[in-house]
């Protein structure tokens, strides 16, 4: 197809403000008479709050108000299960729970006042291991519940007993992954403004999901949704991490704003952010796999236990993605999978780029290499024998027949480009010296968008102005991923305009159509379809107007290159001229497009159904050098092949790949939020290690395009798939290099040398 704008690496539309430093982020915002808020956090991970004495703090200079849970109209909120406390009421359930919030004239005064609040705690013995909290006689994190289980997702297919009986080789392995911090460069920041332009409260700030935050604030204030307005500022990253925690900040600031009748600014420090914000779930995963001696998988049995921490947050959906994808992209007749989430008194866990897939892909793609080794087969051959193709049937019984199943293509392209097979054999030989090289790979399939989690729909409003420019209102948000640019490109493509003539307005719940959350790598796919619909509706209106006025047939009219063409491809007039005339004649050229995704299904009892309406496929290869003298791992290069359906903006797709690969490398070799009986030990970036530019490997991105019938211009997803593959590829490369199979992340110095984590408190 010949495109003018899409499928081209056009300049990002938001680049000017960002590269010149003019862009205003949440913490930059100021309002008249604004007060500064500061939160007092619990001293203990699990404690009864016996008394809170704010009298001394209230007398501090500049203090205007102090709130505790008593002041919160409705103290519990949540996207799925409403059990997250805005402020701890009777008990603090994890180390990041807030106890009280002070509002004062300056940030310094607020901080000083917080130190004067006296809290009497009764420290309680908490539970910090989900494998313990799942035991029948375990103490309860939420006493009103029967047990600590947040969720259990079963999936049953065929008969695993039979499957294992028919297997020549059966292996059982256990894998573990840690808590991970999203590590957005901008810590949480919100400002709540009371009684502005007919809204009871307006929240500005670093909000990933303005509609989720609007909902949370309205729930907490017990106010109508139409009185709570949320406006998104430029975002310094989110990676899934600015949902519930930002809603919590927004709710606290809103309560204070209404109490003081002044704007309230609440900005977290990095330490507060790491202590308070939700993390990626740690998983413990037990895998059992059986195969015939020629490498055909017969059965898989999987149990995955995720630590939900103190609150439910996104655990039900995170573990649901895990149950769908736990067997990997392989045809398996007999499957028994159970994924669970359990409450503990650890920091709560929620969304992070990749969601429920990175832990299970680490496990299941490590397992495939272990099985290959057991069968004395090369890892590519074993995968090729079992992977999905067109019309394959997944573990949940879904037939993959509505899109190109391109696993073999991505696998082959990445393997060829990285010269995998030759290097793999070479590195298997005895290597001299202590620095050993290795190469490893992993593959995945990933359901696009929300799937059976929730209704999946989005809207776009397009308005043609009288000068021919277009405003675009979206409910899905620019979180740094490049969404504004791809939407403007799509609208320009349809309307025959330049991308610069379309302007993506900031997400504002006052105007933007509620399109759910900007999550699940869904915005290009779902919102992109809505852009196309809105544009098509706008074109229809223009055709109707032109046909009527200039004696043309609607079917002859075409918009291209900034003009309107009629019969015999003759130019009728420029779009700018038409827009001006239409405005003067009272023709309304504003339209909306509403897109609802195709039907999906899920049976929660059996794990059967069609959980997603389409999938993306990816393969990553990592080449590493393992220093067996010191335990250091140098990831030399990575090759990443991803089928994106269609790259709306290839430069942006590559940007996603570079970023996702590096985040996956961090997950693989260095990142870990260390908890010790509920306390977080590394609350800043001096101790929480993320990769630096010097750790960045050479990255070879391979964009594979098999347009999807349900995607706008065939486009699907790229944000999350880029992160989910790296850790397994690196672990497999380390095994190839040093003959050491490490089954827990991260692959740090101690695990390479000693085979396990070492810590001051003993082993974990």
């Amino acid at each position: 197809m010949d495109f003018k704008h899409v499928n081209k690496s056009e300049k990002r539309v938001d680049v000017y403000e960002k590269v010149t430093g003019k862009a205003k982020y949440g913490a930059d915002m100021k309002f008249q008479d604004m007060l500064y808020a500061k939160v007092l956090y619990t001293e203990y991970p699990y404690a009864k709050i016996k008394n809170i004495d704010t009298s001394k703090a209230e007398k501090q200079p500049g203090v205007k108000a102090i709130i505790t849970a008593e002041d919160i109209p409705n103290n519990e909120f949540g996207v799925i299960i409403e059990n997250q406390q805005v402020l701890a009421k009777e008990k603090a359930l994890y180390i990041g729970d807030g106890i009280a919030v002070v509002a004062a004239e300056t940030a310094k005064q607020a901080k000083k006042a917080v130190e004067k609040i006296e809290v009497e705690y009764e420290e309680l013995e908490g539970i910090y291991n989900p494998l313990k909290s799942r035991e029948e006689d375990s103490k309860l994190v939420h006493e009103e519940l029967e047990d600590n289980e947040v969720i259990h997702h079963p999936l049953r297919k065929g008969d695993i007993k039979n499957g294992f009986e028919n297997s020549d080789v059966i292996i059982e392995r256990e894998y573990d992954t840690p808590f991970i911090e999203q590590a957005y460069i901008e810590p949480e920041a919100v400002i709540a403004v009371p009684y502005q332009e007919n809204s009871t409260v307006t929240v500005y700030g670093s909000v990933q999901n303005p509609f989720a935050t609007q909902n949370a604030v309205a729930t907490v204030l017990q106010e109508d949704l139409n009185k709570v307005r949320v406006v998104q500022n430029h975002m310094g990253g989110a990676f899934g991490g600015k949902d519930e925690v930002v809603s919590s900040l927004s709710a606290r600031a809103s309560v204070l704003a209404l109490k003081t009748e002044r704007p309230i600014k609440l900005v977290n420090t990095r330490d507060e952010s790491i202590k308070e914000s939700y993390k990626r779930h740690p998983y413990n995963m037990k895998y059992r796999i059986g195969a015939t001696e020629d490498g055909k998988i017969q059965a898989m049995e999987i149990e995955a236990v995720a630590d939900s921490g103190a609150y439910a947050c996104q655990t039900p959906f995170v573990t649901w993605r895990s149950v769908v994808q736990a067997t990997g992209p392989y045809e398996v007749e007999n499957v028994k999978t159970d994924t669970y989430g359990y409450y503990t008194n650890n920091v709560y866990t929620g969304a992070m780029r990749g969601y429920g897939s990175p832990p299970i892909i680490f496990a299941q793609e490590s397992l495939m290499d272990e099985l290959a080794e057991e069968l004395d087969m090369d890892p590519v051959e074993l995968r090729l024998k079992n992977i999905y193709h067109n019309n394959s049937v997944t573990a949940s019984g879904q037939k993959l027949d509505n899109h190109e199943v391109s696993l073999e293509e991505v696998l082959t392209k990445a393997v060829d480009k990285s010269n995998f097979i030759e290097k793999y054999k070479e590195y298997q030989k005895e290597q001299s010296g202590s620095k050993k090289r290795g190469i490893g790979l992993s593959i995945s399939f990933r359901g696009c968008s929300l799937g059976a989690e929730a209704i999946d729909a989005a809207g776009i409003i397009l308005s043609l102005k009288k000068d021919g420019s277009v405003t675009l209102y979206s409910g899905l948000a620019e979180n740094g991923q490049g969404l504004k640019t791809v939407y403007c490109q799509m609208a320009a493509e349809e309307l025959g305009l330049d991308t610069s003539q379309v302007n993506f307005m900031e997400v504002d719940t006052l105007i933007s159509p509620d399109s759910g959350s900007t999550v699940a790598s869904r915005a290009t796919l779902i919102g992109g379809n809505a852009v196309k619909k809105a544009a098509d509706n706008l074109i229809d209106k223009i055709k109707e107007y032109i046909a009527d006025k200039y004696d043309q047939k609607e079917e002859d009219i075409v918009l291209k290159d900034g003009a309107i063409y009629g019969k015999k491809d003759v130019e009728i007039m420029k779009i700018t001229e038409m827009a001006s005339k239409a405005a003067m004649e009272g023709v309304y050229l504003t339209t909306y497009g509403w897109y609802v995704s195709p039907d999906i299904s899920w049976d929660e009892e059996t794990g059967h159904g069609n959980p997603y309406f389409t999938y993306v496929y990816g393969c990553q290869v990592a080449e590493v050098e393992v220093d067996t003298a010191t335990g250091e791992i140098d990831v030399l290069n990575m090759t990443a092949a991803h089928d994106v359906g269609r790259a709306i903006n290839p430069a942006n797709v590559k940007g996603q790949i570079y970023g996702g690969v590096l985040m996956g490398l961090g997950y693989g070799v260095m990142e870990e939020v260390k908890t010790n009986n509920g306390y977080i030990e590394n609350t800043n970036f001096d101790e929480y290690m993320i990769p630096t530019v010097k750790d960045m490997p050479d990255i070879e991105p391979i964009i594979v395009e098999n347009p999807d019938p349900n995607g706008p211009y065939g486009a699907k997803s790229i944000g999350e798939p880029t992160l989910e593959l790296g850790s397994a590829a690196i672990a497999n490369a380390v095994a190839n290099a040093a003959n050491k199979r490490i089954r827990s992340l991260p692959l740090n110095l101690e695990k390479i040398i000693v085979g396990k984590n070492l810590s001051k408190g003993g082993d974990h």
């Binding site: 010191t630 290690m689 990769p691």
Partner: protein, 289 residues
């Protein structure tokens, strides 16, 4: 929240007078790469802090001075200045190698030699080469000045014998004959902005294929960076082509345990100190050949 008054001295006299004046209640700051972090973290040891004394503008403390048999390195020299110094690169390249591994460009631009020594971290990147070189520190107070070996100055992890009325003004680093070999090793959890998990300096002369005057100093393996004298004796006069590496590695690990005792990190560090020394020796031998 820690509240304090910030004072600034332009001369050394002024600085020592302020220390006396404030009855030793002032913390000295130069680059601030350690102290500002502690203030931000409200560290326990800063409780009761009333003053900080900024010496970053004190004249004469930024020098890199070439003397007949030693280099005088002013306390205010930054890590970047060490890296850029032609003199150091020529006469004491080990200091440059160590300084290059510190933090990031921003930290190297601000962090100073004096700060690195005064903070007395067991992992400090400049301390192992300075210990191996036999450097001495110079301290000034209103009572005059004193000098003592760096190895005596540092008394424990983050502890040293600087009195509260004293300012560390310089380090005197004896030159090595230029035909000495030098090697620096650092193990870290990522490739920049990382504290050394272990670091190592090896300095040695080689005469007739034998190690002479070999000096081996480890950081982060023992409570303070020190020379491993037993392994030094073991290697002294050993022919570089006849090293029993297994024995050397085992003994290195054992020497660490003899000094430090068994710690939670011992299962990792015991083999790795030996491995690192082997690597350093092999790299030196490669240079010889």
């Amino acid at each position: 929240m820690i509240e304090f008054e910030a004072l600034k001295a332009q001369t050394l006299d002024e600085a020592v007078n302020i220390l006396d004046d404030k009855e030793n209640e002032a913390k000295i700051v130069a680059g601030g790469t350690d102290l500002l972090v502690s203030i931000h973290n409200e560290s326990e040891e800063l409780k009761g802090l009333n003053y900080i004394l900024d010496i970053s503008s004190v004249k004469g403390l930024e020098i890199i001075e070439d003397n007949e048999d030693y280099l005088k390195l002013g306390a205010l020299c930054t890590h970047s200045e060490i890296i850029d110094s032609v003199l150091i690169n020529e006469k004491l390249p080990i200091l440059r190698k160590a300084a290059q591994t510190i933090g990031s460009t921003q930290i190297r631009n601000r962090g100073t030699v004096g700060g690195n020594i005064n903070n007395s971290s067991p992992a400090a990147d400049l301390i192992t080469p300075l210990i191996a070189l036999g450097a001495a520190v110079v301290l000034h107070s209103s009572n005059g000045k004193r000098e003592l070996p760096l190895s005596e100055f540092i008394t424990g992890p983050y502890q040293n014998s600087r009195k509260e009325n004293e300012i560390l003004t310089a380090v005197k680093v004896p030159y090595l004959p230029t035909d000495y070999y030098n090697n620096y090793q650092k193990v870290q959890r990522r490739q920049a902005v990382a504290i050394a998990r272990i670091n190592l300096t090896v300095l040695t002369n080689i005469e007739k294929n034998k190690f002479k005057d070999i000096r081996i100093a480890f950081g982060s393996a023992t409570p303070t960076a020190i020379r491993f004298s037993e392994i030094e004796s073991e290697l002294e006069n050993t022919n570089i082509n006849q090293i029993d590496y297994d024995k050397i590695q085992e003994k290195t690990g054992q020497e660490m345990i003899d000094i430090t005792g068994e710690r939670w990190s011992t299962p990792y560090k015991k083999p790795v100190v030996g491995n690192l020394l082997k690597r350093a020796l092999q790299e030196i031998i490669k240079e010889v050949q």
